[in-house]
């Protein structure tokens, strides 16, 4: 154990924690800006669309799963349902 190393390790502790906080701060800041800019200039019908689509999908998946379940006695699994673009 050498004293310089300990000092460098301690300075790393400072530098490292400052850096992660700065970076995550910048990321948060940037993400907020992004969201605001996109909300203002490209709002689209996004929320409604994606969310409802999500629920719809869930419903459909449930229906299909039930059908497959019945056919396979609970042993079948739907691996993938691809959405048509």
């Amino acid at each position: 154990m050498d004293e310089n190393s300990v000092i460098e390790a301690l300075s790393l502790l400072a530098i490292g924690m400052v850096t992660v906080f700065v970076i995550l701060g910048l990321i948060v800041l940037l993400a907020k800006t992004l969201i605001r800019v996109i909300n203002r200039y490209f709002p689209e019908s996004a929320i409604a669309h994606t969310q409802s689509a999500l629920y719809a999908d869930d419903e459909v998946v449930t229906v299909i799963s039930a059908a497959v379940d019945q056919l396979t006695g609970g042993r079948g699994e739907i691996v993938e349902i691809n959405e048509i673009n």
Partner: protein, 402 residues
């Protein structure tokens, strides 16, 4: 008689008896197999590692990676020479591990399987993914005090990042001779998160804090911004994040850059389906199988059965504990000043170990209040913890790498 001698020389028995410690390693391989198969501790990594350990420690099969002394200067040999002299495991080790290639490739796949939605919806919580890196740096200091060199200490500390590929990438660059124990410690403790987090939580939080209901808080103090076009945000976000990291900690770029690229081709959707499949299936699965086997192959008796290994195992545990505690106390401090309270479990998940930490946090919360579903909140600090540890790795590599 001569034939019997020849037969005996062919076997590994003679050499094994000369290196009886190899038995211990093979036994360790069995234990790891048991943990991976029966206890389901990170089976995707621990089973290949365990099998690699077993293969590596039977002498004569050339299935073990050379130790640092033997490997000195071998980077100057062509892969063909390495294969001819030391077998395919060493060849693959030099080509895929020594070059640092596999961890970024796995991050490419991890990115393609990550959803930043929970983090984008709860940006405030992302800070706790920073706080929970404290274990990394604390253990770096402790390791230096215990006599590790600085680069070794860095590689040891990164276990506290609770992120496999990041730990492996850092170890490859800072202290390749410690790769085996560091990988084992990282993945074992990640598998033990369902034990470690409740343990730390019990000693650092009060019942009342654990009952803080995130949804109720959200209802009381609703967020001002809603995301109107989530798809657009999710596409621009990984690009922007890459630029920030590239600007501040360029050493993290091989990890974060590929993580974000993987995420981008996932979010773009059907136009890049082929790339998504390559990243999340072809490359990811192949890299995982090879990474596991090769890490196992580095764990020969000579390399692994050192006092350092024990210190790494202990140090790694402390790194985990301190990181979790760091996240929790960051929440507590925040709660002192804020009116909109946060459940300290959200701090604990800043550790990363995605997504198990979040699931564990959710279960603890539900135990104290059956209506307190905080999974989506936990995922925010959880994912930001991945970025946090990659950044921490970049800092360590910048200052301690040669």
């Amino acid at each position: 008689m001569e034939i019997i001698n020849k037969l005996y020389d062919m076997t590994a028995i003679g050499q094994l008896l000369e290196e009886p410690l190899s038995f211990l390693m093979i036994l360790l391989g069995f234990v790891l197999l048991y943990l991976g198969i029966k206890k389901k501790f990170e089976p995707l990594l621990l089973i290949p590692i365990a099998f690699g350990v077993i293969l590596a420690n039977f002498p004569g099969g050339q299935m073990g990676v050379l130790d640092a002394d033997q490997a000195k200067g071998l980077s100057d040999s062509t892969v063909m020479q390495i294969a001819a002299d030391h077998g395919i495991m060493n060849m693959l080790y030099f080509l895929l591990i020594k070059t640092g290639l596999l961890p970024p490739l796995i991050f490419l796949g991890v990115g393609a399987l990550t959803d930043f939605g929970p983090m984008l919806r709860n940006l405030r919580l992302a800070y706790f993914g920073a706080a929970a890196q404290i274990g990394i740096f604390t253990v770096v200091v402790s390791a230096v005090l215990l006599g590790f060199s600085l680069p070794e200490a860095g590689a040891l500390g990164i276990i506290g990042g609770a992120d496999g590929p990041t730990a492996i990438y850092t170890a490859i660059i800072l202290a390749p001779h410690l790769l085996g124990p560091i990988a084992i410690a990282a993945y074992s403790y990640m598998a033990l998160v369902p034990v470690i987090i409740p343990f730390v939580v019990r000693f650092t939080t009060k019942e009342k804090e654990l009952k803080i209901n995130m949804k109720a808080e959200d209802a009381k103090y609703p967020s001002k911004t809603t995301i109107k076009n989530l798809k657009a945000v999710k596409i621009v976000f990984p690009i922007a994040l890459t630029c920030i990291i590239a600007l501040i900690v360029p050493s993290s770029l091989p990890l974060i850059g590929l993580l974000m690229f993987g995420n981008l081709i996932k979010e773009v959707g059907s136009d890049t389906k082929r790339l998504f499949t390559a990243a999340s299936e072809t490359i990811m699965n192949t890299a995982t199988i090879l990474l596991g086997l090769l890490i196992g192959a580095t764990m020969t008796a000579y390399t692994f059965l050192q006092f350092q290994t024990l210190l790494i195992i202990i140090g790694g545990l402390f790194a985990f504990i301190i990181s979790i505690a760091g996240g929790i106390f960051a929440v507590k401090i925040y709660n002192l000043f804020a009116t909109k309270k946060i459940n300290p479990l959200i701090g604990a998940t800043g550790l990363s170990a995605v997504p198990m930490a979040s699931r564990v946090a959710n279960e603890i919360a539900l135990k104290h209040d059956p209506g307190n579903h905080l999974l989506q909140y936990a995922m925010s600090s959880n994912i930001s913890g991945v970025i946090g540890s990659a950044v921490a790795a970049g800092v360590l590599i910048t200052f301690l790498g040669t």
